[in-house]
Symmetry: C2
Subunit: 152 residues, 2 copies
């Protein structure tokens, strides 16, 4: 996939607002709407744009707690690692999941309604799982999310 500055500009615009109109984008890169359309098509098909999604406010949805949890598994066996990954991926309270180089280590971002609800999560997700050797929780106080800077 070959990309030029115009493509990057489109990505930057869409990253800030997925509802930016094609006309507006066309104006930004001084091109026709058809050109923008074709660019978007290939950006989507090539997977550079993974998805266009609504970002929701967790607090306003009743998830007052965010936690960063680092997890260590009992053994570094691939099937166990994959099983754990799968479990995390499917869980509605796990919003992000990172697999760390080196050991059987993971970092996950978990949301919960309150502390009691987080407790319940740990029982369900960690204590009930024989593969989990240990886990360490850090409660998040505030979050800032930046957007990816593109080399325009």
């Amino acid at each position: 996939m070959i990309m030029d500055i115009s493509d990057l500009k489109l990505l930057s615009l869409l990253q800030q607002n997925a509802k930016t109109s094609i006309q507006e984008m066309a104006a930004h890169i001084s091109a026709s709407t058809a050109s923008v359309q074709r660019r978007l098509k290939s950006l989507r098909e090539s997977g550079v744009i993974k998805k266009e999604a609504a970002i929701l406010d967790q607090k306003k949805l009743g998830f007052g707690i965010t936690a960063i949890v680092s997890v260590e598994l009992e053994r570094d066996r691939l099937d166990q690692i994959n099983a754990f990954k799968q479990k995390a991926k499917q869980d509605g309270q796990v919003t992000n999941f990172y697999c760390i180089a080196g050991d059987a280590d993971f970092v996950m971002i978990v949301v919960a309604k309150d502390i009691a609800d987080y407790e319940k999560f740990t029982h369900r997700f960690f204590f009930a799982d024989k593969n989990v050797r240990k886990f360490r929780t850090s409660i998040v106080v505030s979050t800032e999310k930046a957007t990816l800077d593109l080399p325009l």
Copy 2:
């Protein structure tokens, strides 16, 4: 803000695809397009929908490295903490930033083109900052991002 099951369904749809048409949403909740429109309006105005954005593929944009970095500051002075937060928020390579309860501790998700580029980032961001007492880097091997499960 009062929300019912239909609102949650709309959020769930938009979380998966921000380009879902109003007609399609109306079909899902068995309502008119005008009703969906009114619901979306208040969901946006109340901030439950924070933004609608394109999610980009970092690897395909040339950012091959993702790192989780935990950072400890020299002192817990509020102005220093805020200055650091601000710096992180504005930095194009810092995609996520979490402020941890307790001490002057942070966790950030950082992207870089390659290891050398990450080195440069650490020099710029950590070594050049007298407030940073220490930082610890974990390189991310794989990432899974789940969506928030809504109680439908």
